[in-house]
Protein backbone atom coordinates (compact mmCIF):
# COMPACT_ATOMS: atom_id res chain seq x y z
CA UNK A 1 0.00 0.00 0.00
CA UNK A 2 2.99 2.28 -0.25
CA UNK A 3 3.12 2.86 3.46
CA UNK A 4 6.85 2.31 3.74
CA UNK A 5 7.66 5.97 3.20
CA UNK A 6 5.29 7.08 5.92
CA UNK A 7 6.59 7.52 9.44
CA UNK A 8 5.55 4.57 11.52
CA UNK A 9 2.35 5.64 13.26
CA UNK A 10 2.48 5.61 17.01
CA UNK A 11 0.64 2.61 18.30
CA UNK A 12 -2.09 3.07 20.80
CA UNK A 13 -0.80 1.78 24.09
CA UNK A 14 -4.27 0.69 25.17
CA UNK A 15 -4.76 -1.70 22.30
CA UNK A 16 -2.99 -4.89 23.19
CA UNK A 17 -1.02 -6.50 20.41
CA UNK A 18 -3.16 -9.41 19.38
CA UNK A 19 -1.45 -12.73 19.05
CA UNK A 20 -1.46 -14.71 15.83
CA UNK A 21 -3.69 -17.26 17.48
CA UNK A 22 -6.38 -14.73 18.33
CA UNK A 23 -6.09 -13.27 14.86
CA UNK A 24 -6.68 -16.71 13.37
CA UNK A 25 -9.56 -17.24 15.78
CA UNK A 26 -11.53 -14.37 14.38
CA UNK A 27 -11.56 -15.93 10.95
CA UNK A 28 -15.02 -17.47 10.72
CA UNK A 29 -13.72 -20.54 8.90
CA UNK A 30 -11.40 -21.55 11.71
CA UNK A 31 -13.85 -23.82 13.52
CA UNK A 32 -14.69 -25.56 10.27
CA UNK A 33 -11.03 -26.07 9.37
CA UNK A 34 -10.11 -27.50 12.76
CA UNK A 35 -13.21 -29.69 12.73
CA UNK A 36 -12.45 -30.99 9.24
CA UNK A 37 -8.89 -31.94 10.17
CA UNK A 38 -10.09 -33.56 13.39
CA UNK A 39 -12.81 -35.56 11.68
CA UNK A 40 -10.56 -36.83 8.91
CA UNK A 41 -7.81 -37.72 11.39
CA UNK A 42 -10.30 -39.63 13.47
CA UNK A 43 -11.72 -41.68 10.62
CA UNK A 44 -8.34 -42.28 8.99
CA UNK A 45 -7.21 -43.77 12.31
CA UNK A 46 -10.31 -45.75 13.18
CA UNK A 47 -12.08 -46.55 9.93
CA UNK A 48 -9.34 -46.69 7.33
CA UNK A 49 -9.92 -50.37 6.56
CA UNK A 50 -13.68 -50.06 6.41
CA UNK A 51 -13.78 -49.04 2.76
CA UNK A 52 -14.52 -45.41 3.63
CA UNK A 53 -11.47 -44.20 1.74
CA UNK A 54 -11.63 -46.30 -1.42
CA UNK A 55 -13.20 -44.77 -4.50
CA UNK A 56 -16.69 -45.98 -3.69
CA UNK A 57 -16.54 -44.91 -0.07
CA UNK A 58 -15.19 -41.48 -0.92
CA UNK A 59 -17.91 -40.98 -3.49
CA UNK A 60 -20.45 -42.00 -0.86
CA UNK A 61 -19.55 -39.34 1.70
CA UNK A 62 -18.77 -36.78 -0.97
CA UNK A 63 -22.31 -37.02 -2.31
CA UNK A 64 -23.84 -36.75 1.15
CA UNK A 65 -21.60 -33.79 1.97
CA UNK A 66 -22.41 -32.13 -1.35
CA UNK A 67 -26.11 -32.38 -0.55
CA UNK A 68 -25.54 -30.60 2.73
CA UNK A 69 -23.32 -28.03 1.03
CA UNK A 70 -25.96 -27.04 -1.52
CA UNK A 71 -28.51 -26.10 1.13
CA UNK A 72 -25.86 -24.75 3.52
CA UNK A 73 -24.72 -22.10 1.01
CA UNK A 74 -28.21 -20.64 0.82
CA UNK A 75 -28.80 -20.89 4.56
CA UNK A 76 -25.40 -19.29 5.20
CA UNK A 77 -25.96 -16.18 3.11
CA UNK A 78 -29.46 -15.81 4.54
CA UNK A 79 -28.19 -16.16 8.10
CA UNK A 80 -25.48 -13.56 7.52
CA UNK A 81 -28.19 -11.27 6.17
CA UNK A 82 -29.87 -11.73 9.55
CA UNK A 83 -32.69 -14.17 8.76
CA UNK A 84 -33.56 -17.87 8.96
CA UNK A 85 -35.44 -20.16 6.67
CA UNK A 86 -37.05 -23.13 8.38
CA UNK A 87 -38.97 -24.07 5.25
CA UNK A 88 -35.92 -25.42 3.36
CA UNK A 89 -36.77 -29.07 4.04
CA UNK A 90 -40.39 -28.67 3.04
CA UNK A 91 -39.28 -26.72 0.00
CA UNK A 92 -37.13 -29.67 -1.08
CA UNK A 93 -40.09 -32.01 -0.81
CA UNK A 94 -42.40 -29.55 -2.52
CA UNK A 95 -40.03 -28.82 -5.41
CA UNK A 96 -39.43 -32.50 -6.07
CA UNK A 97 -43.14 -33.22 -6.03
CA UNK A 98 -43.88 -30.34 -8.40
CA UNK A 99 -41.37 -31.67 -10.93
CA UNK A 100 -42.92 -35.12 -10.72
CA UNK A 101 -46.45 -33.79 -11.10
CA UNK A 102 -45.55 -31.52 -14.02
CA UNK A 103 -43.49 -34.08 -15.90
CA UNK A 104 -45.09 -37.44 -15.08
CA UNK A 105 -48.72 -36.58 -14.42
CA UNK A 106 -49.14 -33.67 -16.80
CA UNK A 107 -46.62 -34.97 -19.33
CA UNK A 108 -44.72 -31.70 -19.72
CA UNK A 109 -41.18 -31.95 -21.08
CA UNK A 110 -38.82 -32.39 -18.15
CA UNK A 111 -36.83 -29.24 -18.90
CA UNK A 112 -40.02 -27.22 -18.70
CA UNK A 113 -41.07 -28.92 -15.45
CA UNK A 114 -37.66 -28.10 -13.95
CA UNK A 115 -37.74 -24.48 -15.04
CA UNK A 116 -41.30 -23.84 -13.89
CA UNK A 117 -40.46 -25.43 -10.55
CA UNK A 118 -37.44 -23.16 -10.17
CA UNK A 119 -39.54 -20.09 -10.87
CA UNK A 120 -42.33 -21.23 -8.57
CA UNK A 121 -40.09 -22.15 -5.64
CA UNK A 122 -37.93 -19.04 -5.91
CA UNK A 123 -41.11 -16.98 -5.93
CA UNK A 124 -42.30 -18.74 -2.76
CA UNK A 125 -38.92 -17.91 -1.22
CA UNK A 126 -39.47 -14.31 -2.23
CA UNK A 127 -42.93 -14.41 -0.66
CA UNK A 128 -41.36 -15.66 2.59
CA UNK A 129 -39.02 -12.70 2.53
CA UNK A 130 -41.72 -10.23 1.58
CA UNK A 131 -43.91 -11.30 4.50
CA UNK A 132 -40.96 -11.07 6.91
CA UNK A 133 -40.09 -7.56 5.71
CA UNK A 134 -43.67 -6.29 5.54
CA UNK A 135 -44.88 -7.59 8.89
CA UNK A 136 -41.63 -7.20 10.77
CA UNK A 137 -42.26 -10.64 12.27
CA UNK A 138 -39.27 -12.85 13.06
CA UNK A 139 -38.37 -14.98 10.05
CA UNK A 140 -38.41 -17.93 12.43
CA UNK A 141 -42.21 -17.73 12.70
CA UNK A 142 -42.96 -16.90 9.08
CA UNK A 143 -40.86 -19.70 7.67
CA UNK A 144 -42.14 -22.11 10.31
CA UNK A 145 -45.59 -21.45 8.88
CA UNK A 146 -44.27 -22.23 5.41
CA UNK A 147 -42.64 -25.40 6.72
CA UNK A 148 -46.15 -26.70 7.42
CA UNK A 149 -47.89 -25.12 4.45
CA UNK A 150 -45.46 -26.52 1.88
CA UNK A 151 -45.24 -29.94 3.53
CA UNK A 152 -49.01 -30.08 3.64
CA UNK A 153 -49.29 -29.41 -0.09
CA UNK A 154 -46.51 -31.90 -0.81
CA UNK A 155 -48.57 -34.64 0.84
CA UNK A 156 -51.96 -33.44 -0.36
CA UNK A 157 -51.33 -32.80 -4.06
CA UNK A 158 -50.05 -36.26 -5.13
CA UNK A 159 -52.86 -37.91 -3.16
CA UNK A 160 -55.38 -35.72 -4.88
CA UNK A 161 -53.97 -36.31 -8.33
CA UNK A 162 -52.46 -39.79 -8.28
CA UNK A 163 -53.87 -41.26 -5.04
CA UNK A 164 -50.38 -42.00 -3.71
CA UNK A 165 -47.60 -40.16 -1.90
CA UNK A 166 -44.73 -41.19 -4.13
CA UNK A 167 -44.64 -40.42 -7.83
CA UNK A 168 -42.14 -42.50 -9.82
CA UNK A 169 -41.25 -42.91 -13.45
CA UNK A 170 -39.25 -39.71 -13.75
CA UNK A 171 -36.22 -41.56 -15.15
CA UNK A 172 -38.29 -42.70 -18.11
CA UNK A 173 -39.71 -39.28 -18.97
CA UNK A 174 -36.30 -37.67 -18.47
CA UNK A 175 -34.72 -39.93 -21.09
CA UNK A 176 -33.20 -37.75 -23.80
CA UNK A 177 -34.10 -34.49 -22.08
CA UNK A 178 -31.45 -31.81 -22.42
CA UNK A 179 -31.78 -30.21 -18.99
CA UNK A 180 -32.20 -33.32 -16.83
CA UNK A 181 -28.52 -34.42 -17.12
CA UNK A 182 -27.43 -31.02 -15.80
CA UNK A 183 -28.83 -32.17 -12.45
CA UNK A 184 -28.83 -35.95 -12.66
CA UNK A 185 -25.88 -36.71 -14.96
CA UNK A 186 -22.27 -37.51 -14.32
CA UNK A 187 -19.15 -36.02 -15.83
CA UNK A 188 -15.55 -37.08 -16.32
CA UNK A 189 -16.66 -40.64 -17.06
CA UNK A 190 -13.65 -41.07 -19.35
CA UNK A 191 -11.24 -40.18 -16.59
CA UNK A 192 -12.75 -42.75 -14.26
CA UNK A 193 -12.69 -45.43 -16.97
CA UNK A 194 -9.03 -44.62 -17.51
CA UNK A 195 -8.34 -44.79 -13.77
CA UNK A 196 -10.18 -48.13 -13.62
CA UNK A 197 -8.23 -49.50 -16.59
CA UNK A 198 -4.99 -48.50 -14.96
CA UNK A 199 -5.86 -50.03 -11.63
CA UNK A 200 -6.05 -46.72 -9.77
CA UNK A 201 -9.61 -47.36 -8.65
CA UNK A 202 -11.62 -50.51 -8.16
CA UNK A 203 -13.50 -52.09 -11.07
CA UNK A 204 -16.34 -54.57 -11.17
CA UNK A 205 -14.92 -58.07 -11.34
CA UNK A 206 -18.00 -59.89 -12.60
CA UNK A 207 -21.46 -59.31 -13.97
CA UNK A 208 -22.52 -57.31 -16.99
CA UNK A 209 -20.38 -54.32 -16.05
CA UNK A 210 -17.19 -56.34 -15.65
CA UNK A 211 -14.12 -54.19 -16.14
CA UNK A 212 -15.99 -50.94 -15.69
CA UNK A 213 -14.94 -48.77 -12.74
CA UNK A 214 -17.12 -48.97 -9.62
CA UNK A 215 -17.32 -45.20 -9.64
CA UNK A 216 -18.08 -44.12 -13.17
CA UNK A 217 -18.03 -40.31 -12.93
CA UNK A 218 -18.62 -37.29 -10.77
CA UNK A 219 -22.32 -36.66 -10.19
CA UNK A 220 -23.58 -33.22 -11.20
CA UNK A 221 -24.76 -32.85 -7.61
CA UNK A 222 -21.13 -32.36 -6.56
CA UNK A 223 -20.51 -29.91 -9.41
CA UNK A 224 -23.54 -27.90 -8.31
CA UNK A 225 -22.25 -27.87 -4.73
CA UNK A 226 -18.84 -26.58 -5.82
CA UNK A 227 -20.34 -24.01 -8.17
CA UNK A 228 -22.71 -22.69 -5.51
CA UNK A 229 -19.90 -22.47 -2.95
CA UNK A 230 -17.71 -20.50 -5.35
CA UNK A 231 -20.61 -18.25 -6.30
CA UNK A 232 -21.61 -17.66 -2.68
CA UNK A 233 -18.05 -17.02 -1.54
CA UNK A 234 -17.30 -14.53 -4.31
CA UNK A 235 -20.64 -12.80 -3.84
CA UNK A 236 -20.14 -12.44 -0.11
CA UNK A 237 -16.51 -11.40 0.11
CA UNK A 238 -15.70 -9.81 -3.23
CA UNK A 239 -18.72 -7.77 -4.26
CA UNK A 240 -20.62 -4.69 -3.26
CA UNK A 241 -23.68 -6.84 -2.70
CA UNK A 242 -21.71 -8.96 -0.25
CA UNK A 243 -21.03 -5.88 1.82
CA UNK A 244 -24.75 -5.21 1.84
CA UNK A 245 -25.43 -8.75 3.06
CA UNK A 246 -23.08 -8.26 6.02
CA UNK A 247 -24.51 -4.81 6.71
CA UNK A 248 -28.16 -5.95 6.56
CA UNK A 249 -27.49 -8.68 9.10
CA UNK A 250 -25.11 -6.66 11.27
CA UNK A 251 -27.48 -3.78 11.94
CA UNK A 252 -30.37 -3.25 9.56
CA UNK A 253 -31.08 0.27 10.83
CA UNK A 254 -27.48 1.47 10.49
CA UNK A 255 -27.35 -0.09 7.04
CA UNK A 256 -30.50 1.75 5.99
CA UNK A 257 -29.03 5.02 7.28
CA UNK A 258 -26.10 4.46 4.95
CA UNK A 259 -28.30 3.82 1.97
CA UNK A 260 -28.13 0.02 1.80
CA UNK A 261 -31.36 -1.42 0.31
CA UNK A 262 -31.83 -3.80 3.24
CA UNK A 263 -35.28 -5.09 2.25
CA UNK A 264 -34.15 -5.96 -1.25
CA UNK A 265 -31.07 -7.76 0.07
CA UNK A 266 -33.07 -9.85 2.52
CA UNK A 267 -35.77 -10.82 0.03
CA UNK A 268 -33.15 -11.79 -2.54
CA UNK A 269 -31.43 -13.98 0.04
CA UNK A 270 -34.72 -15.74 0.82
CA UNK A 271 -35.08 -16.36 -2.90
CA UNK A 272 -31.53 -17.67 -3.15
CA UNK A 273 -32.14 -20.07 -0.26
CA UNK A 274 -35.22 -21.38 -2.04
CA UNK A 275 -33.17 -21.69 -5.25
CA UNK A 276 -30.58 -23.82 -3.45
CA UNK A 277 -33.32 -26.03 -1.98
CA UNK A 278 -34.71 -26.50 -5.47
CA UNK A 279 -31.29 -27.47 -6.85
CA UNK A 280 -31.10 -30.08 -4.11
CA UNK A 281 -34.59 -31.33 -4.95
CA UNK A 282 -33.99 -31.60 -8.70
CA UNK A 283 -30.72 -33.50 -8.21
CA UNK A 284 -32.43 -35.85 -5.79
CA UNK A 285 -35.43 -36.46 -8.02
CA UNK A 286 -33.20 -37.15 -11.03
CA UNK A 287 -31.08 -39.55 -8.98
CA UNK A 288 -33.94 -41.51 -7.43
CA UNK A 289 -36.29 -41.22 -10.40
CA UNK A 290 -39.14 -40.46 -8.03
CA UNK A 291 -40.53 -37.78 -5.76
CA UNK A 292 -41.79 -38.60 -2.28
CA UNK A 293 -43.90 -36.57 0.10
CA UNK A 294 -41.42 -37.08 2.94
CA UNK A 295 -38.31 -35.91 1.10
CA UNK A 296 -36.20 -33.23 2.72
CA UNK A 297 -37.50 -33.79 6.23
CA UNK A 298 -35.37 -31.94 8.82
CA UNK A 299 -33.05 -30.58 6.12
CA UNK A 300 -33.58 -26.99 7.33
CA UNK A 301 -32.00 -27.85 10.66
CA UNK A 302 -29.15 -29.74 9.04
CA UNK A 303 -28.43 -26.72 6.86
CA UNK A 304 -28.46 -24.38 9.85
CA UNK A 305 -26.21 -26.73 11.85
CA UNK A 306 -23.70 -26.88 9.00
CA UNK A 307 -23.69 -23.08 8.79
CA UNK A 308 -23.20 -22.67 12.53
CA UNK A 309 -20.39 -25.24 12.62
CA UNK A 310 -18.92 -23.16 9.81
CA UNK A 311 -18.64 -20.16 12.12
CA UNK A 312 -21.64 -17.98 11.24
CA UNK A 313 -23.40 -16.15 14.04
CA UNK A 314 -27.06 -17.00 14.59
CA UNK A 315 -27.65 -13.30 15.14
CA UNK A 316 -26.43 -12.41 11.65
CA UNK A 317 -23.79 -10.13 10.25
CA UNK A 318 -20.92 -12.54 10.44
CA UNK A 319 -19.99 -15.80 8.76
CA UNK A 320 -18.41 -17.45 5.78
CA UNK A 321 -19.57 -19.57 2.88
CA UNK A 322 -16.33 -21.56 2.94
CA UNK A 323 -16.92 -22.20 6.63
CA UNK A 324 -20.45 -23.40 5.94
CA UNK A 325 -19.10 -25.70 3.21
CA UNK A 326 -16.61 -27.18 5.68
CA UNK A 327 -19.42 -27.55 8.20
CA UNK A 328 -21.38 -29.49 5.60
CA UNK A 329 -18.32 -31.64 4.86
CA UNK A 330 -17.90 -32.47 8.56
CA UNK A 331 -21.58 -33.29 8.73
CA UNK A 332 -21.44 -35.63 5.74
CA UNK A 333 -18.18 -37.35 6.66
CA UNK A 334 -19.27 -38.03 10.22
CA UNK A 335 -22.71 -39.27 9.23
CA UNK A 336 -21.34 -41.72 6.68
CA UNK A 337 -18.13 -42.42 8.58
CA UNK A 338 -19.98 -43.69 11.65
CA UNK A 339 -21.85 -46.01 9.31
CA UNK A 340 -18.58 -47.28 7.83
CA UNK A 341 -17.06 -47.63 11.27
CA UNK A 342 -20.04 -49.71 12.33
CA UNK A 343 -21.16 -47.35 15.06
CA UNK A 344 -24.82 -47.40 16.00
CA UNK A 345 -26.33 -44.72 13.77
CA UNK A 346 -28.48 -43.18 16.49
CA UNK A 347 -25.26 -42.00 18.13
CA UNK A 348 -24.81 -39.66 15.17
CA UNK A 349 -27.54 -37.49 16.63
CA UNK A 350 -25.74 -37.34 19.94
CA UNK A 351 -22.60 -36.25 18.14
CA UNK A 352 -24.57 -33.65 16.21
CA UNK A 353 -26.06 -32.15 19.35
CA UNK A 354 -22.69 -31.97 21.06
CA UNK A 355 -20.87 -30.42 18.11
CA UNK A 356 -23.67 -27.90 17.58
CA UNK A 357 -23.52 -26.76 21.17
CA UNK A 358 -19.73 -26.55 21.03
CA UNK A 359 -19.82 -24.53 17.82
CA UNK A 360 -22.35 -22.02 19.13
CA UNK A 361 -20.35 -21.47 22.31
CA UNK A 362 -17.16 -21.00 20.31
CA UNK A 363 -18.89 -18.55 17.96
CA UNK A 364 -20.22 -16.48 20.83
CA UNK A 365 -16.72 -16.29 22.27
CA UNK A 366 -15.32 -15.24 18.90
CA UNK A 367 -17.95 -12.55 18.62
CA UNK A 368 -16.77 -11.09 21.90
CA UNK A 369 -13.22 -10.99 20.64
CA UNK A 370 -14.21 -9.16 17.48
CA UNK A 371 -16.46 -6.59 19.01
CA UNK A 372 -14.54 -6.17 22.25
CA UNK A 373 -17.73 -6.75 24.24
CA UNK A 374 -17.41 -8.27 27.67
Amino acid sequence: MGEAAQPVPATDERVKEISGLRKALIRPELGGMVGTVAVFTFFLLFAFDSGMFNSQGMMNWSIVSAQFMIIAVGACLLMIAGEFDLSVGSMIGFAGMMIAIFSVTYGWPVWMAIMVTFVLCTAIGGLNGYIVIRTGLPSFIVTLAFLFILRGFTIFLPQLIERKTIIGGIKDVAEGDWLAPVFGGKILGGLFTWMGDNGLIATFTRGTREGQPVVDGIPMLIIWAIALIIFGHVLLTKTKFGNWIFASGGDAEAARNSGVPVNKVKILMFMFTAFCATVFAVCQVMEFGSAGADRGLLKEFEAIIAVVIGGALLTGGYGSVLGAALGALIFGVVQQGLFFAGVESSLFRVFLGVILLGAVILNTYIRRIITGER
Binding site: M1, V15, K238, N243, A247, D251, T371, E373
Partner: protein
Protein backbone atom coordinates in the same frame (compact mmCIF):
# COMPACT_ATOMS: atom_id res chain seq x y z
CA UNK B 1 -14.70 31.91 9.56
CA UNK B 2 -14.26 31.70 5.82
CA UNK B 3 -17.82 32.62 5.01
CA UNK B 4 -18.47 34.49 1.81
CA UNK B 5 -21.61 35.44 3.64
CA UNK B 6 -23.97 33.37 1.68
CA UNK B 7 -25.55 30.85 4.00
CA UNK B 8 -25.40 27.30 2.66
CA UNK B 9 -28.64 26.39 4.35
CA UNK B 10 -31.43 28.63 5.58
CA UNK B 11 -34.30 27.36 7.68
CA UNK B 12 -37.07 29.95 7.62
CA UNK B 13 -39.86 29.95 10.17
CA UNK B 14 -39.97 26.18 10.38
CA UNK B 15 -43.01 24.76 12.13
CA UNK B 16 -43.63 21.12 12.78
CA UNK B 17 -46.77 19.74 14.33
CA UNK B 18 -47.32 16.13 15.31
CA UNK B 19 -51.08 15.88 15.65
CA UNK B 20 -51.99 18.35 18.35
CA UNK B 21 -48.43 18.67 19.59
CA UNK B 22 -46.47 21.65 18.34
CA UNK B 23 -42.90 20.42 18.30
CA UNK B 24 -41.49 23.45 16.48
CA UNK B 25 -43.28 26.78 16.58
CA UNK B 26 -41.44 28.79 13.95
CA UNK B 27 -37.67 28.36 14.11
CA UNK B 28 -35.32 30.24 11.80
CA UNK B 29 -31.63 29.42 11.54
CA UNK B 30 -28.94 30.17 8.96
CA UNK B 31 -25.83 28.07 8.63
CA UNK B 32 -22.72 29.34 6.81
CA UNK B 33 -20.00 27.26 5.19
CA UNK B 34 -17.02 26.75 7.46
CA UNK B 35 -18.81 27.59 10.66
CA UNK B 36 -19.66 25.40 13.56
CA UNK B 37 -23.21 26.27 14.44
CA UNK B 38 -24.19 24.93 17.84
CA UNK B 39 -27.79 24.05 18.44
CA UNK B 40 -28.45 23.96 22.15
CA UNK B 41 -31.48 23.03 24.10
CA UNK B 42 -32.72 20.93 26.95
CA UNK B 43 -34.42 17.59 26.46
CA UNK B 44 -37.69 18.08 24.60
CA UNK B 45 -36.73 21.50 23.28
CA UNK B 46 -37.17 20.33 19.69
CA UNK B 47 -33.53 19.89 18.68
CA UNK B 48 -34.08 16.42 17.25
CA UNK B 49 -37.20 17.41 15.37
CA UNK B 50 -35.40 20.39 13.95
CA UNK B 51 -32.41 18.48 12.60
CA UNK B 52 -34.66 15.72 11.31
CA UNK B 53 -36.47 18.36 9.32
CA UNK B 54 -33.15 19.65 8.05
CA UNK B 55 -32.00 16.18 7.01
CA UNK B 56 -35.18 15.18 5.23
CA UNK B 57 -36.63 12.75 7.78
CA UNK B 58 -39.58 15.05 8.55
CA UNK B 59 -41.34 17.46 6.25
CA UNK B 60 -42.02 20.82 7.89
CA UNK B 61 -45.66 21.66 8.51
CA UNK B 62 -44.89 25.26 7.62
CA UNK B 63 -41.84 27.23 6.57
CA UNK B 64 -39.17 26.83 3.93
CA UNK B 65 -35.72 25.35 3.60
CA UNK B 66 -33.24 27.07 1.28
CA UNK B 67 -30.16 25.11 0.33
CA UNK B 68 -27.51 27.13 -1.50
CA UNK B 69 -30.16 29.75 -2.12
CA UNK B 70 -32.70 27.41 -3.64
CA UNK B 71 -35.84 26.13 -2.03
CA UNK B 72 -35.66 22.43 -1.30
CA UNK B 73 -38.30 19.82 -0.56
CA UNK B 74 -36.60 16.68 0.61
CA UNK B 75 -38.75 13.60 0.11
CA UNK B 76 -36.53 11.41 2.26
CA UNK B 77 -33.05 11.37 3.83
CA UNK B 78 -31.53 10.05 0.59
CA UNK B 79 -32.47 13.32 -1.12
CA UNK B 80 -30.80 15.33 1.60
CA UNK B 81 -27.70 13.15 1.48
CA UNK B 82 -27.32 13.50 -2.26
CA UNK B 83 -27.71 17.26 -1.91
CA UNK B 84 -24.82 17.18 0.57
CA UNK B 85 -26.49 17.16 3.97
CA UNK B 86 -25.09 14.32 6.03
CA UNK B 87 -26.19 13.35 9.52
CA UNK B 88 -24.06 11.47 12.00
CA UNK B 89 -26.38 9.87 14.50
CA UNK B 90 -25.50 9.26 18.05
CA UNK B 91 -26.24 5.53 17.71
CA UNK B 92 -25.20 5.29 14.79
CA UNK B 93 -24.28 4.26 11.36
CA UNK B 94 -21.52 1.84 12.24
CA UNK B 95 -21.75 -1.93 12.31
CA UNK B 96 -19.50 -3.38 15.05
CA UNK B 97 -18.94 -6.77 13.43
CA UNK B 98 -17.72 -5.29 10.16
CA UNK B 99 -14.29 -3.92 9.46
CA UNK B 100 -13.60 -0.19 9.45
CA UNK B 101 -13.07 -0.19 5.72
CA UNK B 102 -16.28 -2.14 4.99
CA UNK B 103 -18.14 0.28 7.25
CA UNK B 104 -16.51 3.31 5.70
CA UNK B 105 -17.74 2.40 2.23
CA UNK B 106 -21.05 0.85 3.28
CA UNK B 107 -23.63 1.89 0.71
CA UNK B 108 -20.94 3.55 -1.46
CA UNK B 109 -18.74 0.58 -2.30
CA UNK B 110 -16.05 1.21 -4.89
CA UNK B 111 -16.03 -1.37 -7.67
CA UNK B 112 -13.46 -2.49 -10.19
CA UNK B 113 -14.11 -4.58 -13.24
CA UNK B 114 -12.49 -7.98 -13.44
CA UNK B 115 -13.53 -9.42 -16.77
CA UNK B 116 -17.32 -9.35 -16.87
CA UNK B 117 -17.58 -9.06 -13.08
CA UNK B 118 -17.80 -5.92 -11.01
CA UNK B 119 -15.98 -6.62 -7.77
CA UNK B 120 -15.66 -4.66 -4.55
CA UNK B 121 -12.32 -2.87 -4.82
CA UNK B 122 -10.92 -3.81 -1.42
CA UNK B 123 -7.43 -2.42 -2.10
CA UNK B 124 -8.77 1.02 -2.90
CA UNK B 125 -11.22 0.93 0.03
CA UNK B 126 -8.48 -0.09 2.46
CA UNK B 127 -6.09 2.55 1.20
CA UNK B 128 -8.62 5.38 1.39
CA UNK B 129 -9.84 4.28 4.80
CA UNK B 130 -6.33 4.25 6.26
CA UNK B 131 -5.58 7.65 4.74
CA UNK B 132 -8.78 9.29 5.94
CA UNK B 133 -8.39 7.83 9.41
CA UNK B 134 -4.81 9.06 9.62
CA UNK B 135 -5.95 12.56 8.63
CA UNK B 136 -8.40 12.47 11.52
CA UNK B 137 -5.66 11.34 13.88
CA UNK B 138 -6.71 7.73 14.32
CA UNK B 139 -4.08 5.07 13.76
CA UNK B 140 -5.82 1.86 12.87
CA UNK B 141 -4.15 -1.47 13.39
CA UNK B 142 -5.33 -2.25 9.89
CA UNK B 143 -8.28 -1.50 7.64
CA UNK B 144 -9.72 -4.91 8.52
CA UNK B 145 -9.97 -4.02 12.19
CA UNK B 146 -13.57 -4.43 13.33
CA UNK B 147 -15.42 -1.27 14.29
CA UNK B 148 -16.44 -3.05 17.49
CA UNK B 149 -12.89 -2.66 18.78
CA UNK B 150 -12.94 1.14 18.42
CA UNK B 151 -13.92 3.46 21.24
CA UNK B 152 -17.09 5.52 21.07
CA UNK B 153 -15.15 8.64 20.12
CA UNK B 154 -13.26 6.84 17.39
CA UNK B 155 -16.51 5.50 15.96
CA UNK B 156 -17.90 9.04 15.83
CA UNK B 157 -14.73 10.12 14.07
CA UNK B 158 -15.02 7.32 11.51
CA UNK B 159 -18.61 8.35 10.84
CA UNK B 160 -17.60 12.00 10.46
CA UNK B 161 -14.67 11.15 8.19
CA UNK B 162 -16.95 9.04 6.06
CA UNK B 163 -19.50 11.82 5.66
CA UNK B 164 -16.76 14.28 4.72
CA UNK B 165 -15.15 11.87 2.26
CA UNK B 166 -18.45 11.41 0.44
CA UNK B 167 -18.88 15.10 -0.13
CA UNK B 168 -20.96 16.43 2.73
CA UNK B 169 -21.36 20.22 2.62
CA UNK B 170 -23.44 20.34 5.76
CA UNK B 171 -22.61 17.93 8.54
CA UNK B 172 -25.21 17.46 11.25
CA UNK B 173 -23.86 15.91 14.42
CA UNK B 174 -26.55 14.68 16.78
CA UNK B 175 -25.16 14.80 20.31
CA UNK B 176 -21.84 13.27 19.31
CA UNK B 177 -20.26 13.85 22.70
CA UNK B 178 -23.09 12.98 25.05
CA UNK B 179 -21.96 9.44 25.83
CA UNK B 180 -18.22 10.01 25.74
CA UNK B 181 -15.47 10.37 28.28
CA UNK B 182 -13.32 13.48 28.61
CA UNK B 183 -10.51 12.52 26.28
CA UNK B 184 -12.79 11.04 23.66
CA UNK B 185 -14.86 14.19 23.75
CA UNK B 186 -11.74 16.23 23.16
CA UNK B 187 -10.92 14.06 20.16
CA UNK B 188 -14.35 14.50 18.65
CA UNK B 189 -14.25 18.27 19.22
CA UNK B 190 -10.84 18.37 17.53
CA UNK B 191 -12.34 16.47 14.60
CA UNK B 192 -15.14 19.00 14.36
CA UNK B 193 -12.55 21.76 14.24
CA UNK B 194 -10.69 20.03 11.38
CA UNK B 195 -13.88 19.54 9.41
CA UNK B 196 -14.92 23.17 9.84
CA UNK B 197 -11.56 24.35 8.55
CA UNK B 198 -12.21 22.44 5.32
CA UNK B 199 -15.13 24.80 4.69
CA UNK B 200 -17.86 22.41 5.69
CA UNK B 201 -20.78 23.75 7.68
CA UNK B 202 -21.15 21.85 10.94
CA UNK B 203 -24.40 21.79 12.88
CA UNK B 204 -23.47 20.56 16.33
CA UNK B 205 -26.34 19.51 18.57
CA UNK B 206 -25.58 19.29 22.24
CA UNK B 207 -26.93 20.19 25.63
CA UNK B 208 -23.49 20.63 27.06
CA UNK B 209 -22.55 24.31 27.07
CA UNK B 210 -18.86 23.68 27.64
CA UNK B 211 -18.62 21.42 24.59
CA UNK B 212 -20.45 24.03 22.56
CA UNK B 213 -18.22 26.88 23.74
CA UNK B 214 -15.12 24.85 22.88
CA UNK B 215 -15.77 24.76 19.12
CA UNK B 216 -18.84 26.86 18.35
CA UNK B 217 -18.80 29.98 16.15
CA UNK B 218 -22.47 30.73 16.69
CA UNK B 219 -25.02 29.45 19.11
CA UNK B 220 -28.74 28.99 18.69
CA UNK B 221 -30.79 28.02 21.69
CA UNK B 222 -34.06 26.19 21.35
CA UNK B 223 -36.58 26.17 24.11
CA UNK B 224 -40.03 24.59 23.96
CA UNK B 225 -40.06 24.59 20.18
CA UNK B 226 -38.96 28.18 19.78
CA UNK B 227 -35.64 29.81 19.15
CA UNK B 228 -34.43 32.42 21.53
CA UNK B 229 -32.08 33.89 18.96
CA UNK B 230 -28.61 33.22 17.61
CA UNK B 231 -25.53 34.60 19.35
CA UNK B 232 -22.03 35.13 17.98
CA UNK B 233 -19.04 33.70 19.76
CA UNK B 234 -17.78 36.26 22.28
CA UNK B 235 -21.14 37.94 22.62
CA UNK B 236 -22.43 35.49 25.16
CA UNK B 237 -21.12 33.84 28.27
CA UNK B 238 -21.57 30.19 29.16
CA UNK B 239 -23.78 31.23 32.05
CA UNK B 240 -26.12 33.14 29.77
CA UNK B 241 -26.36 30.18 27.41
CA UNK B 242 -27.13 27.89 30.28
CA UNK B 243 -29.88 30.24 31.43
CA UNK B 244 -31.39 30.45 27.98
CA UNK B 245 -31.47 26.67 27.65
CA UNK B 246 -33.16 26.22 30.98
CA UNK B 247 -35.69 28.89 30.14
CA UNK B 248 -34.52 31.63 32.45
CA UNK B 249 -35.45 32.24 36.02
CA UNK B 250 -35.57 28.89 37.80
CA UNK B 251 -32.05 28.14 36.72
CA UNK B 252 -30.66 31.21 38.41
CA UNK B 253 -31.98 30.08 41.76
CA UNK B 254 -30.86 26.53 41.21
CA UNK B 255 -27.42 27.58 40.19
CA UNK B 256 -27.11 29.78 43.20
CA UNK B 257 -27.70 26.85 45.50
CA UNK B 258 -25.29 24.66 43.56
CA UNK B 259 -22.57 27.28 43.63
CA UNK B 260 -22.38 27.76 39.88
CA UNK B 261 -21.17 24.26 39.20
CA UNK B 262 -23.76 23.11 36.68
Amino acid sequence: MTTEHAPIIQMKDIQKHFGSVIALAGVSVDVFPGECHCLLGDNGAGKSTFIKTMSGVHKPTHGEILFEGQEMHFADPRDAISAGIATVHQHLAMIPLMSVSRNFFMGNEPVKSVGPLKLFDHDYANKVTMEEMRKMGINLRGPDQAVGTLSGGERQTVAIARAVHFGAKVLILDEPTSALGVRQTANVLATIDKVRKQGIAVVFITHNVRHAMAVGDRFTVLNRGQTLGTAQRGQITPEELQDLMAGGQEMVKLEGSLGGTV
